[in-house]
Amino acid sequence: MSEFTFLFRGTDPTVQSPEEMQKSMEKWLAWFKELGEKGHIKYPGHPLERAGRVVRGKQKSVHDGPYAEAKDIVNGFTLIEAKDLPHAVELSKGCPILEAGGSVEVRPIRVVCLDM
């Protein structure tokens, strides 16, 4: 088993009724539950606030941001256990964010072998 991080991008549609929002959430919970039951969730992760600061370069200049388009901002992450990258990609395909036009970036966590 290897570890992967799922980086979620994209937002839920803004004009949603309470009922629709609850439905969106339930879809997400169902997906998470399934992953969890199959032992794929290493760490459920966190949502990220939209606005923060970006610190850049040697000058350590601080900027408001990230100033990316809403669809490009990472708004959450999760740590996943999967056999290999294709397996992790398969798992990501159940993510409801995809149906809303968002994306999941699947990145293997580099294994650092301290004994070497």
Partner: protein, 437 residues
């Protein structure tokens, strides 16, 4: 844990009601924004961390904190609830004042305050119902439009105008004043009754949607009953009528998704508990001298509930209740129902005769169950051709696929010359679109 069904929709009403109290009714839109914001946060956080132990409390606390932010940040730019006035101006009193407004008991009253405010005489009844659905029940314009089989634009216009009017009123209705409460109560009953009927007899083809409307009406009616000034005989009768009719909901559509008539329904599907609750409420309604249309309609529903089989129905009792209903609240639909009950008792010829004497029966022209009733009675006396003509006319007026399927079957029965089976649908007591009468 899993969130309960319609949690967000239900909480939306509670939160908007309380926030409107905090911000003042003129800031209704701001209250709605804060609620939307709380849902967005819940959506983001719960996705990753799961649904909290007490999701309602979580949502409420989130809305409260957001409200405090808004109050602190915009204190100087905005005027908020005039009743709270100075309390909101100082940091010392702000938090405790808001805290108190978010306490459980206060919220119940807030819901009633908005409900009573929505039922103001300056708003047409259909606007009141739409507003209640939108603000108190958390239905979006789209959802209301689809439940009413109406256009998005029409409902949006209705709600926007109603909200403007509501926001222009200086303050929310004061539910603590007994005289004002009593004066506004009939309008509230009426709106809840219409809401229930929209679910029970409405045009939406979605059974689930219609059952939801019924449940919302029952929930709000129970809130009225729970208020010390609200527990009047008419309130009990209204709740009784809702319970007794809702008890039959599980039998109205069969396994194939087709409408079934009162005569064909599998009565073992009826909700006996709900019917018993209805009868209990009807007994509580029988105090005092007031006899409302709700008493009578509940009594009619109780006659059906008490009949184990359709053949056991006490039609004589139903006819005399309709007689009384005609004197309390006459309408061509009530008259039509009375005629159908008479036909049950005295035969189809007599029924047709009585229908022929309904004074304003031209108002039934757009109502599919008027020609359907004529067709039914003609069919029963063996005049298949006349019956088919009426069912065809009814078919042309049908409002959804379920009604169409039902009426097509009747047309088919006439063409085949089938022996008549009694199949009159449960009649509504009012017409669609009659709401402004």
């Amino acid at each position: 844990m899993e969130p309960s069904d319609h949690l967000f929709r239900r909480e939306a009403g509670r939160m908007v009601a309380t926030l409107t109290r905090v911000f003042g009714v003129h800031n209704l839109a701001l209250a709605e924004d804060v609620v939307q914001d709380a849902f967005c946060r819940a959506l983001e956080v719960w996705k990753f961390r799961g649904v909290p132990e007490n999701p309602s409390a979580w949502l409420l606390a989130t809305a409260k904190n957001r409200a405090l932010d808004v109050l602190r940040r915009q204190r100087t730019a905005h005027t908020f609830a005039p009743e709270l006035g100075r309390l909101l101006e100082s940091e010392w009193t702000l938090a405790p004042a808001v805290e108190e407004l978010f306490a459980a008991n206060a919220i119940k009253d807030d819901l009633l305050r908005i409900m009573f405010s929505c039922c103001q005489p300056r708003l047409a009844e259909e606007a009141q119902v739409a507003l209640i659905l939108n603000i108190l029940c958390g239905f979006s314009v789209n959802e209301i439009a689809s439940a009413f089989v109406s256009s998005h634009a029409a409902i949006e216009k209705r709600i926007t105008r109603a909200k403007k009017l509501l926001a222009a009123s200086k303050r929310l209705f004061d539910v603590a004043a007994p005289a004002e409460f009593a004066a506004r109560l009939p309008a509230v009953h009426r709106a809840l009754y219409l809401l229930f009927n929209e679910g029970y007899h409405g045009a939406s083809a979605e059974t689930a949607v219609r059952a939801e409307l019924c449940h919302e009406a029952m929930r709000l009616a129970a809130l009225v009953l729970a208020h010390p000034h609200g527990a009047t005989p008419a309130s009990y009768a209204l709740s009784a009528l809702m319970c007794l009719n809702a008890a039959r909901l599980p039998g109205r559509v069969n396994a194939g998704g087709n409408l079934t008539s009162l005569f064909e329904q599998d009565r073992s599907l009826w909700d006996g508990k709900l019917a018993a609750e209805g009868i209990r409420l009807l007994e509580l309604a029988a105090t005092g001298t007031e006899l409302t249309e709700y008493h009578l309609e509940a009594a009619i529903a109780s006659v059906h509930a008490r009949a184990p089989q359709a053949e056991d129905t006490d039609w004589a009792a139903i006819v005399s209740l309709y007689d009384l209903l005609m004197s309390v609240r006459p309408s061509p639909v009530v008259a039509l129902n009375r005629a159908i009950a008479i036909a049950q008792q005295e035969g189809p010829e007599r029924g047709l005769e009585v229908i022929g004497t309904i004074e304003d029966r031209d108002r039934l022209a757009g109502y599919p169950f008027y020609p359907a009733a004529l067709g039914e009675l003609e069919l029963r006396r063996g005049r298949h051709n006349a019956a088919r003509k009426h069912f065809r006319a009814a078919l042309a007026l049908a409002r959804n696929p379920m009604e169409r399927r039902f009426l097509k079957q009747r047309v088919g029965a006439c063409e085949r010359g089938d022996p008549p089976e009694p199949a009159i649908l449960e009649p509504a007591t009012r017409l669609q679109g009659e709401v402004t009468s």
